[in-house]
């Protein structure tokens, strides 16, 4: 296939939150391009084992990694187990994320903390656990998934938007630390992606959302996956500290 020229043969990839939705699409896209793919998840064993089967059918090698990315010891254990089996990792996609949407007046401390812990602290913990192996090989790609909420703000998402905005600032700063070491750090901003969450909205909300998107259609998970694969490719080696929006013109 012509698009194989991107070239991920035997590249070792970890996708956090990689057993569902966008993360799963990213994991499968890497797998189809010849990469070894480790997918992390935290709690839903059922969907994880379904994804595992799917991944095994396309990936050269795959790993299912259960860990809560917001807990340092769990992350360390997960990365160590990958390094024990695969020796090193080339690409980390920090995709694991949760939402707890509420207007600020009703947003309690637990909602705030949990979203920041999983989305932002999780990105920090996974990145920190992986950079030594990348520095040792002078090659690495870290891609963090952010959100339009971080760029434009959205009512009911002060916690989520803050976590995703934090991810952008984290991305820019880490990119400067890693630039000389052959490691690029970028963010991908998906637009409104057609997932069950969007499909289940009522017609009016759906059509309002559609009107916001200049391209007039919701994004497919694969639209975002390609942006991630591009930034992870060897040829994107001069691009770092950037936010690439794959959003049909939304932002």
């Amino acid at each position: 296939m012509a698009h194989n020229s991107v070239g991920f043969k035997d590249r070792r990839v970890i996708v956090t939150g990689g057993t569902k939705g966008l993360g799963k699409a990213i994991a499968l896209a890497f797998a189809r391009e010849g990469a070894w793919v480790g997918v992390n998840y935290s709690s839903d064993d059922e969907s994880a084992s379904r994804t595992e089967v799917e991944l095994e059918s396309v990936a050269t090698k795959s790993l299912l990694l259960k860990a809560d990315v917001s807990i340092g010891a769990d992350v360390q254990k997960m990365i160590s187990s990958v390094l024990d089996q695969w020796e090193y990792v080339d690409i980390l996609v920090n995709n694991a994320g949760i939402i707890r949407d509420k207007l600020l007046m009703f947003l309690d401390e637990e909602d705030w903390d949990r979203v920041l812990e999983v989305n932002l602290k999780g990105t920090y913990l996974c990145s920190r656990a992986i950079i030594k192996t990348m520095i040792a090989r002078r090659f690495g790609r870290i891609i963090n998934i952010t959100s339009p909420s971080a760029l434009t703000g959205r009512a009911g998402q002060t916690n989520y938007a803050a976590s995703k905005g934090g991810i952008i600032s984290f991305t820019r700063s880490l990119s400067k630390e890693m630039a000389r070491l052959g490691i690029t750090v970028n963010a991908v901003c998906p637009g409104i992606i057609s997932t069950p969450m969007i499909e289940n909205l009522d017609q009016e909300t759906k059509s309002n959302l559609l009107h916001m998107i200049p391209m007039g259609r919701f994004g497919e998970p694969e639209d975002v996956a390609w942006a991630v694969l591009f930034l992870a490719s060897e040829k994107a080696g001069y691009i770092t500290g950037q936010v690439l929006a794959a959003d049909g013109g939304l932002t």
Binding site: K132, I135, A136, E177, L181
Partner: protein, 94 residues
């Protein structure tokens, strides 16, 4: 590796070579590095990003972990300091 670590002279020479190789320092020879001169800024002119690479190399070669920046500052004061730091870690281990 124990043999080199136990011999300060040999360890210092090894570390000089390790730094030149790891950081791909062009035009720097083992002879040119003074073992008591600072590695950073005025001395050899290394910076904090170079230190990251050295931390990783030391962990790989000696299985010695530099846990934080403060420890790193002391360990990377000079070649002699780094040799002493590694020797201490080995002593603690045995």
């Amino acid at each position: 590796m124990d043999e080199i670590v136990n011999n300060s002279e040999a360890l210092c020479e090894f570390l000089k070579k390790m730094i030149i190789d790891t950081l791909k320092l062009e035009g720097v020879t083992v002879e040119r590095i003074d073992r008591s001169a600072p590695l950073f800024r005025k001395g050899l002119g290394l910076d904090s990003i170079d230190a990251l690479e050295l931390v990783v190399a030391i962990e790989k070669i000696f299985d010695v972990i530099i846990e934080d920046e403060e420890v790193g500052k002391r360990a990377f004061a000079s070649i002699s300091a780094l040799a002493g730091f590694i020797q201490n870690k080995y002593k603690q281990r045995n």
